[in-house]
């Protein structure tokens, strides 16, 4: 598996957790139906409840999950945002991989996008 810097994984650590604390806290709130409705009514207004940086708020509004993660968002929190949008985790992953979801799904059915066993 070519583990280039491009797809070297981000390991979520104390520093990232601190940076992304309010991204993740915002996502936690989406476990409540009333909060999901308030967010959907006016996303920017709802986000203003949290002390997010403008870059963080922009990444959330753009659903740019790679940037959210780079700024301390964690996928186990971010899937609650995907769920609020009615988007599957698979579609979120396809988006992060920069692929149409059908192509991503096919690659997974073929054994995974980067599969050591297949490439060996």
């Amino acid at each position: 598996m070519e583990m280039t810097a491009q797809h070297a994984p981000v390991v979520f650590d104390m520093e990232l957790a601190d940076r992304g604390f309010w991204i993740n806290r915002f996502c936690m709130g989406l476990m409540d139906e009333a909060n999901r409705e308030a967010f959907k009514r006016d996303e920017a207004d709802y986000l203003a409840r949290f002390p997010l940086s403008s870059e963080q708020a922009q990444a959330i509004l753009a659903r740019d999950y790679n940037r959210c993660i780079a700024m301390g968002g964690n996928i186990y929190f971010l899937v609650k945002l995907g769920a609020t949008d009615g988007v599957t985790v698979q579609a979120m992953c396809a988006g992060m991989a920069g692929m149409p979801v059908e192509d991503y799904r096919d690659a997974m059915l073929a054994g995974g996008r980067f599969n050591l066993a297949r490439e060996a």
Binding site: M1, M3, Q6, H7, A8, P9, V10, V11, F12, D13, M14, A17, F21, N24, R25, C27, M28, L30, M31, D32, E33, R36, Y65, N66, I69, N74, I75, Y76, F77, V79, K80, L81, G82, A83, T84, G86, T88, V89, Q90, M92, C93, A94, M96, A97, G98, Y104, A107, M108, L109, G111, G112, R113, F114, N115, L116, A117, R118, A120
Partner: protein, 298 residues
């Protein structure tokens, strides 16, 4: 004296729960996933435990990372199934076993594992998907459940060696419980998968199959794997596999006491959504089970 009738290992992919909730088990995409659990479901129906200690990671459900306990144990009598953002799964709330849970906390603390104690945590797919896989669609779960949560996300995380040692202490704690209870420990999560970044969709079936082999016969060999090694080999979220060592450690404690376990079933399939699905059922050898049942009935 409580006994360990089996250890069970399985992925806990949320999409598996969704597929069951939407009755898609027989879809061509899902059928190969669920077919691999049929043997286990039959076995569990005939050997239903009194209590399952469910080792899993909270997926930002009970904990928002204002606190990050390495190991946490739920001691309540009931655990509410959480709404994780798409509404609550239509499955029953698991009932706990407070007396055994408190006993486990006491024993683990005296053997050097300072457990965080959780009162009424909500539980997520990490706990409910394995129950669904094991018991199918039910109006009430057929056993009590004790959640044992491990931080496998927020680095630094407990080492694989520490997870194996926790499992051994857990096994000894179960064995020291006075009541005659049929207990199982289920280790969940994995197998290889990565849910983030341009490398999303990583699978390493060679590593997964090696891990399954080693877990059965040489769990000690897995204890030296670092978090970085798990991430490199199995993907960022594949690091959940370290939790399987807690269940395997519990079995080691009973094996050290002379009990034998057999691999009754193994299943491996790619993919479920983004993830490689792995499953093992290791059961206490049948003749000993029947002897024990005979002696407890006598």
């Amino acid at each position: 004296m409580a006994r360990l009738s089996a250890t069970l290992y399985t992925s806990h992919v949320p999409a598996i729960g969704a597929a069951m909730d939407l009755a898609r088990d027989d879809d061509p995409y899902w059928k190969p996933v669920f077919d691999g659990y049929a043997t286990t479901r039959r076995w569990l129906a005939a050997h239903t435990p009194d209590v399952v200690v469910m080792v899993y990671n909270d997926h930002a459900t009970a904990m928002d990372y204002s606190m990050v306990p390495p190991f946490a144990l739920g001691v309540s009598d009931r655990f509410e199934i959480a709404d994780e953002g798409w509404g609550r799964r239509p499955v029953p709330d698991p009932l706990g076993h407070p007396a055994l849970a408190r006993h486990l906390v006491h024993r683990l603390m005296t053997s050097g594992f300072d457990m965080a104690v959780l009162h009424h945590p909500k539980v997520d797919h990490g706990l409910s998907v394995p129950l669904s896989l094991g018991f199918g669609r039910v109006s009430a779960w057929p056993c009590r459940v004790i959640p044992l949560m491990v931080n496998v996300v927020h680095a630094p995380v407990p080492t694989a060696a520490r997870c194996l040692a926790l499992g051994q202490a857990l096994g000894e704690a179960i064995r020291s419980y006075g009541e005659d209870l049929n207990v199982q420990v289920w280790g969940t999560g994995g197998m290889s998968h990565q849910l983030q970044g341009p490398g999303a969709g990583t699978i390493n079936s060679r590593f997964d199959r090696w891990f399954l082999d080693e877990l059965v016969v040489r769990p000690d060999a897995l204890a030296s794997l670092s978090h970085e090694a798990f991430v490199e080999q199995a993907g960022t979220e594949g690091a959940e596999l370290t939790m399987w060592l807690v269940a395997r450690g519990a079995q080691m404690a009973f094996q050290a006491d002379g009990q034998r376990f057999d691999e009754l079933h193994r299943h491996y399939h790619v993919p479920a959504s983004n993830t490689a699905v792995g499953h093992l059922l290791l059961a206490q050898r049948a003749e000993e089970t029947s002897q024990r049942q005979a002696s407890s009935m006598a």
